[in-house]
């Protein structure tokens, strides 16, 4: 390359591919600020969202009654579960309506009405149905919603061990 040519190129404005000082500074400062803000905000977000990420406690089976006491006619049984609510532990009492079907299969229904959460009971009106005292919702023996409520009664997980009925988690009705 001759001297002459070199002279020509130096007249053109300098084309640089790298970023300007201003850009560099704003990226660095912006990045640092974002990092520091993240350091402050992330722990708080994780703190607030902890219940979402905690594993749900597996509900243990609770011994309720001897299998021999279960009849075709639903009966009400009360039992206590161990409940952990944050820093409080308690033993609330739950209710289940337990009966056998024609095949002798035992099943347990939750007494919480699926309409608005009142407590249902078996055969209070003499129609061999579960009746809700609040808005006259009715359910069949299997918990099928006959009127008012939109969904069937919830069901307990049932386990039978050495002649005793154990009840576990509440799940949506599997019988209807």
């Amino acid at each position: 390359m001759s001297n002459h040519e070199q002279h020509e190129t130096s007249h053109r404005p300098v084309q640089r591919k790298e970023m300007s000082r201003r850009q560099f500074l704003s990226y660095t400062l912006g990045g640092t600020t974002a990092f520091m803000m993240g350091g402050a905000v992330l722990p708080m977000v994780r703190f607030a969202a902890d219940p979402l990420l905690k594993k749900k406690g597996e509900s243990a089976y609770v011994k309720v009654v001897e299998e021999s006491k279960i009849t075709n006619e639903p009966q009400e049984f009360k039992f206590k579960i161990h409940q952990v609510d944050g820093w409080y532990e308690s033993e609330p009492e739950l209710v289940a309506w337990i009966s056998k079907n024609q095949q002798g299969e035992v099943f347990a229904l939750s007494p919480v009405c699926k309409h608005l959460g009142c407590t249902i009971a078996w055969n209070t009106k003499g129609k061999n149905e579960y009746d809700c005292p609040c808005h006259d919702a009715r359910y069949s023996k299997d918990g099928k919603n006959i009127t008012v409520a939109n969904t069937p009664l919830d069901e307990y997980d049932v386990m039978i061990d050495q002649g005793f009925i154990y009840l576990g988690a509440i799940k949506p009705n599997t019988r209807v």
């Binding site: 219940p51 406690g57 609510d85 944050g86 409080y88 959460g117």
Partner: protein, 223 residues
């Protein structure tokens, strides 16, 4: 005496233009009930703010006695209402003010809607107003749980179940609000924090934006 104090500060800090800027502005004739009585409909926004201020103040005082804990919450509310002097009044202000603020806000929204005040160039103020509306509903929802009575418990249970019916993310919203598996100790502390710190903070920011915009753009013209 007060004038001297004011002058002494004003000489040093020149505070007169500051409050003049905020307080000194003309109320147009068409929004002044002294000119046209029917212009009282323009007062609902100001009334909403007035009641909001009462809510913030009475709420601050209620926290002097209230405890957000499942064993003690109901007892502390019972105590502050029945044992503390003027407790019934302070809690009454907060209780009835909560309903009133929703009513006033709704009337204000109707006024803005029927006078067409949401139209350009004030669309952003309508959007901010809607955000304020939802923040207020959130304050009502979270505050309702705090007395920890049966009504509070079931209202929250039903409310969270409604939130849980949102497609896809519903169960996450419910878990976030419950803070546990049931409406319990962690739900109460959560709702307390949201009611007393998070939502009021957001509310004040939104109100500031609401007022700045209306001062900048001026109130909309007569119908």
């Amino acid at each position: 005496m007060f004038k001297n104090v004011y002058n002494w500060i004003d000489e040093r800090l020149d505070i007169t233009p500051l409050w003049r800027d905020v307080a000194d502005h003309e109320v147009p004739e068409h929004v002044n009930p002294a000119h046209h009585f029917s212009a009282f409909v323009y007062c609902f926004g100001g009334l909403t703010f007035f009641i909001t201020v009462i809510q913030i103040l009475s709420g601050m005082f209620l926290t002097m006695y209230y405890v957000p804990d499942i064993i003690n919450a109901y007892a502390s509310v019972d105590f502050l209402q029945h044992q503390v002097a003027f407790g019934q009044i302070v809690r009454g202000m907060h209780h009835f003010g909560a309903s009133l603020v929703i009513v006033m806000m709704f009337l204000h929204t109707l006024r803005v809607f029927f006078t067409g005040s949401y139209k350009a160039p004030r669309e952003m103020n309508w959007v901010v107003g809607m955000l304020i509306f939802f923040i207020m509903l959130g304050l009502g929802f979270t505050g309702y749980l705090l007395p920890w009575d049966n009504k509070a418990y079931y209202a929250t249970k039903v409310g969270v179940e409604i939130a849980a019916s949102v497609p896809y993310i519903g169960s996450y919203i419910a878990d976030f609000l419950y803070g546990g598996d049931i409406v319990g100790a962690q739900t109460l502390t959560r709702f307390f924090a949201i009611h007393v710190f998070f939502l009021p903070g957001a509310l004040i920011a939104m109100l500031a934006a609401h007022f700045l915009m209306i001062r900048k753009q001026g109130i909309s013209g007569p119908l």
